[in-house]
Assembly symmetry: C2
Homo-oligomer: 357 residues x 2
DNA sequence: TACCGCAGAGAAAGCCCTTTCCCGCAGGGA
DNA sequence: TCCCTGCGGGAAAGGGCTTTCTCTGCGGTA
């Protein structure tokens, strides 16, 4: 590889001058020398060594991002938001997939710190795991102590700046919708119970049911991987245990799609026989058939906010931006198939005029 | 940030010794000193500066990857394959999204070269653009001249090692299938015509139709973005121009999903009234309703092969691995709705017993 | 006892840049 | 004519790490 001094030698100037030309330094250089340097760069196909540059320059510019998996639509959308702001500000993003492995997450914090990133964004659910949480917070604190900035998306465990989707309210929305449609036998297809996202969404859902005089026993919940196959499998288990279910809440859209697949395989019409509500409103939700009724989270906006927060000025106190969830009614949730013997939930159910456009 | 000499000072040793302990050098260090160093590392939360390390070490280990967009399922699958091999070999991947912008692609080649990657993988379609192709090849050649290794996935324009999906054969498969089902009026929803992927798939398709005595006039092809919305829009244009179409080939699955959306919006039943065939077989294809008939490409395997090639020993001659396409029959392609006046295609149509399970 | 060899530790030379500091020189004012 | 100013350029000092080379001191052999 050609180095700067190769270029300088070829152009007959000092490395200092070559550097100034290449980086467009504010210090003036004669046109004659400038051209000689540029010519040498072209001839030698010179590309500056990024590591040497980062070492020599003091200011750090890249931003590190740790997500579960960029190709998961949930994180893809968030990342889109992150990118948008980062690109505007000329920042490079280093994105790492933790695949929800706590150890890998810890490793990546170190790795990114080692790569001298100016800031760190952690996106994705936190864990119910005190030991891990403590370790992570220690690492994050160490990083912040040396001037690094940290923002988390959707995790409570960190005490600093955060962007939080309102998972609990979203769960509540899903639950209320189904209650109002007259459903009494509601099953839940949930992600891993160690994730705070799962428990938060579940808590909101439970609250909605409780308000309608329903409870949500553990046997109506099945925990599985937070993906399509997990959803398919959990739905099958749920149905095997309780064939009378008239509605299923999937705690994310991937699982909802899996649920739909199982339902189709068992020839259970949606929403006539059984309703399904998803969560997240990822792009594909509107394209499955029937189109998925789901709880929408402003994913791109979450990314935008997080990046703005992390690149903006620091604040004396931690800032927490809570972004609202919103119910998107499409075609997978309909009235419960047959009238309930129990009439307790009649009033709210009547409130909803679904026949109107 | 704590530095190595901070650690050394704190442990009362020289930086050399500290370095040896931290990197597990082969040179022996007394247990006593080793422990002092380790303690200092822990106390100081020391993380080595990756840039300094890369500068000091001579051997390069990271691999650069340029794709259209990691969150596009096509590239997500390929990347999964790349990652699998890279992780096995302890390599770090630097993944860049070009968003099909040739200039950005060129920039990323430089960027990755500047980051001293040991190898470079370019995935995604090439362009019908001689000037760009030449520039890219020059940059790649310059990189290879300094010992860098390059593998491309799905692009003919580079003369070195390559992994090639058989796009042309795949197009042929889609065309033949529809002909055998009796379709005569077939429209195509295509990606940008500047992409070689588009023209390759189109060429195979055209060949299949030609063999059946059909031709594929330009007005039966609509070019649009290679995504869901592009597919929806192109389908609408196609239908407006030619309402009698009985089949649509979408040149990737995202476009096929868009096509399905338009068809649903227009209440055209699939496959009774109109058949749809996609391309790629991305994971979601089986979950749309009706499940998508499509041409499968071994995407993960393409990634695996590419990474193996690039990390393996160099070869004297360029190696090109062509991976086969395969038709996956699901539910969006059925017999043409009404018998053709023209009986020319009868024989092949009869060959296929679609009523059988 | 004298000498050799080697284990274990440190000094120092890079790796490739950026940037400060300094120097020479030309032009302008006194 | 002399001095000061300021511009354009180079020398050199890092930036944080790895690694070779060198040095010290110990145990073992003749």
């Amino acid at each position: 590889m050609a180095t700067l001094s190769d270029v300088a030698r070829r152009a007959g100037v000092s490395p200092a001058t070559a550097s100034r030309v290449i980086n467009g330094s504010s210090k003036p250089v004669t046109d004659e020398l400038r051209e000689r340097v540029l010519a040498a760069v072209a001839e030698l196909q010179y590309v500056p060594n990024a590591h040497a540059q980062l070492l020599a320059r003091s200011h750090r510019s890249a931003v590190g991002v740790i997500v579960h998996d960029v190709s998961d639509p949930y994180f893809a959308e968030i990342t889109r938001g992150l990118q948008r702001v980062a690109t505007d500000q000329g920042r490079l993003l280093m994105i790492c997939n933790s695949y929800r492995d706590p150890d890998r997450e810890l490793e990546y914090v170190e790795l990114l710190r080692g790569h001298q990133v100016a800031a760190l964004i952690l996106a994705g659910s936190g864990y119910h795991d005190a030991a891990f949480t403590r370790q992570l917070n220690e690492k994050l604190a160490a990083y912040e102590a040396t001037g690094g900035r940290v923002v988390v998306i959707g995790r409570h465990e960190h005490s600093g700046d955060a962007v939080m989707p309102d998972n609990r309210a979203g769960g509540y929305l899903a639950g209320r919708e189904l209650c109002e449609l007259g459903h009494r036998a509601i099953g839940v297809v949930a992600g891993p119970r160690i994730l705070t996202t799962t428990t938060d969404r579940l808590a909101g859902l439970r609250q909605a049911l409780t308000e309608q005089g329903l409870d949500l026993p553990e046997q109506r919940i099945r925990y599985a991987e937070f993906d399509r196959d997990g959803g398919a499998e959990a739905t099958a288990r749920l149905l095997d245990a309780d064939p009378e279910l008239t509605a299923i809440v999937a705690l994310n859209d991937s699982m909802a799609i899996g649920a739909l697949a199982t339902l189709r395989a068992r020839s259970l019409p949606v929403p006539q026989r059984i309703s399904v509500v998803g969560f997240d409103d990822m792009p594909i939700a509107r394209d499955v058939t029937p189109a998925l009724t789901t709880v929408r989270l402003p994913l791109v906006d979450m990314g935008v906010r997080a990046m703005s927060l992390v690149l903006g000025a620091g604040a004396p106190a931690p800032r927490v931006e809570v972004l609202p969830a919103e119910l998107v009614r499409r075609d997978t949730a309909g009235p419960a198939p047959h009238p309930q013997r129990d009439t307790a939930g009649a009033a709210p159910r009547a409130r909803r005029g679904d026949a109107a456009p």
